[in-house]
Amino acid sequence: MNPIAHSPHAHAPVSIAKVMATVLLALTPATLFGFWLYGWPAINLWAISLIAAIVGEAIVVRMQGRAVRAVIMDGSGILTAWLLAISLPPFAPWWIAVLGSLFAVVIGKQLYGGLGQNVFNPAMAARVMLLISFPLEMTTWVAPAPLGSAHAPGLLESLRITFLSQHIDGMASASLLGHVKTEFTRGVGLDQALAGYYTPLDMLWGSRAGSLGETAAVLLLLGGLFLIARRIITWHAPVAMLLGVVVPALLFNTINPGHYAGPIYHLLSGGLMLGAFFIITDPVTSPNTTTGQLIFGFGCGLMTWIIRTWGGYPEGVAFAVMLMNTLTPLIDQYVKPRIYGRDRKGAALPANKGA
């Protein structure tokens, strides 16, 4: 006979696998757009990332003597690898994907104790590791060459790009954030740096140089709204992160438009949309309460803007997320909902019999 079960004797039709699958679904449009925009090398890179994560996680879970199937099937490792893959330069070599994926799931997640135990967002930890260790490979961007267009690499050529690091002439490009940062070091002003490089409409659709799946701002936004509608995430952290970038950008742009770019430039470049809707909404590494998520999100946005504006790196989302991840336990310690019948400090409310 079954052991006696405790109430409730009803359960919402939800599971972790369903949550992860919904997030993957929300990521799909932006990812497919990335595949189209950058062609076969991007597809290779994505596939390698996922395979490496699955195999790597299976091996370490087996070494721990735990059931492999349940861990792989919860989909969290796949999601981590997917997020890492779409934050890589699309023409990056295969070993970048393998190394990053293994670092994310093995060191970033399983060494902490597996799902739910890690302090840092595994995908961002892996990306930061790769960026610091392999700055060249991680900042070699290419101009979009949509599948079917004249200069798109064919399947065979794509395999050479991914596995033999073959250099493709005429395709190298700089990301907008990187370009502006470089121009600043040469003493070129913002207006000139942006001239011919920045068209907001292209940025919106994602037709620009950048990471594999981070460029399609509209598709990422739609994916995020889908997740909010499905109640997988709430609006708090994403909106706060966007505000964290927009508010200082607007302020400094108003003061000195010649040096500080405006909010639209920041919103549509780099990995901000991806970060706001898919990275900082990672439940494991973000605070529990809505107020906590507002603080966390705003902090992520502000740090991103600071790093972009005054830091050594052109893009700061990954660093900002990791920095704020360290504050999550602290935020959770101090930001808690008010308990029924108690005041904010936890003291019982006074008796009040009414008139």
């Binding site: 405790h6 409730p8 135990q117 909902p337 009414g354």
Partner: protein, 492 residues
């Protein structure tokens, strides 16, 4: 009327439609009834009958003992065949003291004192009659109603809230009683209001019961009873939550509704009060919903207290498939039971036979800190944090996080995508805390007794020594006197 917001809450699938259109039917008289002595919060009742006694329906068979207790009455006429232990309607199924009555088939009421104008009775008289009828809260908490009336009258009540929320899925017996017996309920409500001298009377009914709302509004016409529709959400029918929604006040932590001038009773309790006072009928039956995916004909019955649950299931034409789980009460807070020979008691609102698909439980997986439980908690707790503390046996931290404020409504467990049995952890911790407190009290009592004993021994010894000293002094005085007398005699 303006309603107030409620924090958190969940929307479980109602499944009320499968029984809600079924009229209340009276269950056929069972041959044997098993009436436990403890069907309420507090001390068990004390039996006042012997094996072999013939009793009439409504006759007192066990009397309340102690400050918090309730009387128990014979649910039908017949012969007492046993005073002994019988499996309890509890997950443990452990035997509890129970009076067994063999029905004589006549279902004959004993002497009944009816009151033609019950609203003319004094508050004390109403409470006394409620106590004599053995009425307890029929919403499930089973707190002795008369005691609640007396405590509330003593502390003063501004607002009487009648709970017609019935937010638990499947259960429809409160819905049915409001539709079919609204006039009696409204009279019961007015009696309760009179017993506590309430200034304002609000009946809160979830808006998924439009017929019940209409029936109650019609019955309340021309009285001070105000029937209000509330949004349907779980746990709207929880005492603290219904107060918050209807009057916007919160019961202070560790306090009672009386602390904010509120008294909450269930609508079915109001019916029992009306029956007890107008018709002099003790609480010997209640409405029960028989439902669940494994029940062939879900329905609502009026069952005598002590009726074996199996008879209810048979009345609903048995099972369509083997039940994955049997539950007494609703699915959110009800208790699993395993033996269908257990009896219906005063707190039994539902008998559910659920299928595995309805339960929807899966193996627990790791917490991903998604904080869905934080958003669902109607109290404002952080269930996931409490759970990790309890797992680490750090009960003190769990208490600091609000463990004692948890109302065990089950919303967190219901929504958890990792299927972690959060409420199970909390109730385990509450039990552990209670055990620790009892042990501490016992230790303190033992220490007090030991100190008293030591003091007593010391006092006896001291007194003995003093007595010995006195005796010695007296003896010496005597000897001295004798010597002096002798010396005097010699001199003389």
């Amino acid at each position: 009327m303006k309603l107030f917001d409620l924090r958190g809450g969940v929307h479980p699938e109602g499944r009320k439609d499968i029984s809600t259109e079924r009229h209340i039917r009276v269950l056929p008289l069972p041959k044997k009834l098993f009436v436990p002595l403890q069907q309420h919060i507090g001390a068990p009742a004390n039996p006042v009958v012997k094996v072999g006694d013939h009793v009439l329906k409504g006759q007192l068979i066990a009397t309340a003992q102690g400050a918090v207790s309730s009387s128990v009455h014979a649910p039908t006429s017949g012969v007492i065949t046993a005073l002994g232990d019988f499996p309890a309607p509890h997950p443990s199924g452990l035997p509890v003291p129970t009076i067994t009555i063999e029905s004589d088939g006549e279902d004959k009421w004993g002497a009944i004192e009816s009151v033609d104008d019950p609203l003319s009775l004094s508050p004390e008289n109403i409470a006394a009659r409620v106590a004599a009828a053995g009425i307890v809260g029929l919403g499930g908490a089973t707190f002795p109603s008369a005691l609640k009336l007396n405590l509330s009258r003593a502390s003063g009540v501004q607002t009487l809230i009648m709970n017609g929320g019935e937010c638990e899925p499947y259960l429809t017996c409160d819905d049915r009683i409001m539709r079919e017996r609204a006039v009696e309920i409204v009279e019961g409500i007015r009696l309760i209001a009179q017993a506590v001298d309430a200034k304002e009377i609000i009946v809160g009914i979830e808006d998924n019961k439009p017929e019940a709302i209409a029936a109650m509004q019609a019955a309340a016409q021309g009285t001070a009873v105000n029937v209000v529709a509330m949004p349907s959400m779980y746990p709207m029918g929880s005492e603290k939550q219904i107060i918050q929604v209807l009057i916007g006040k919160e019961v202070p932590a560790g306090g009672r509704p009386a602390d904010i001038g509120v008294l909450v009773h269930n609508v079915a309790t109001a019916f029992a009060v009306q029956q007890a006072i107008r018709h002099g009928k003790a609480l010997v039956s209640r409405l029960v919903t028989i439902s669940g995916g494994a029940i062939k004909t879900p329905c609502n019955v009026e069952a005598l207290i002590g009726t074996p649950v199996q008879e209810l299931i048979d009345f609903a034409d048995g099972y369509t498939q083997p039940a994955a789980r049997l539950v007494l009460g609703g699915p959110m807070m009800g208790q699993q039971f395993t033996s269908t020979e257990v009896p219906v008691v005063k707190g039994t609102s539902g008998v559910l036979a659920l299928t595995a698909a309805e339960i929807g439980q899966a193996e627990a997986s790791p917490c991903i800190r998604c904080s869905t439980c934080v958003r669902a908690c109607p109290v404002g707790l952080v269930p996931l944090e409490m759970m990790t503390r309890i797992r680490a046996s750090d009960l003190a931290s769990a208490v600091k996080l609000g463990l004692r404020d948890c109302i065990a409504c089950g919303s967190c467990s219901y929504v958890c995508p990792a299927h972690i049995p959060l409420v199970h952890y909390f109730n385990y911790a509450k039990g552990d805390l209670a055990t620790q407190e009892r042990a501490k009290l016992k230790q303190e009592a033992t220490k007090k007794l030991a100190d008293a004993r030591n003091e007593r021994i010391a006092r006896i010894e001291r007194e003995r020594a003093e007595a010995a000293a006195r005796r010695k002094a007296a003896r010496e005085a005597k000897e001295r006197a004798a010597k002096e007398a002798a010396a005097k005699a010699e001199v003389v």
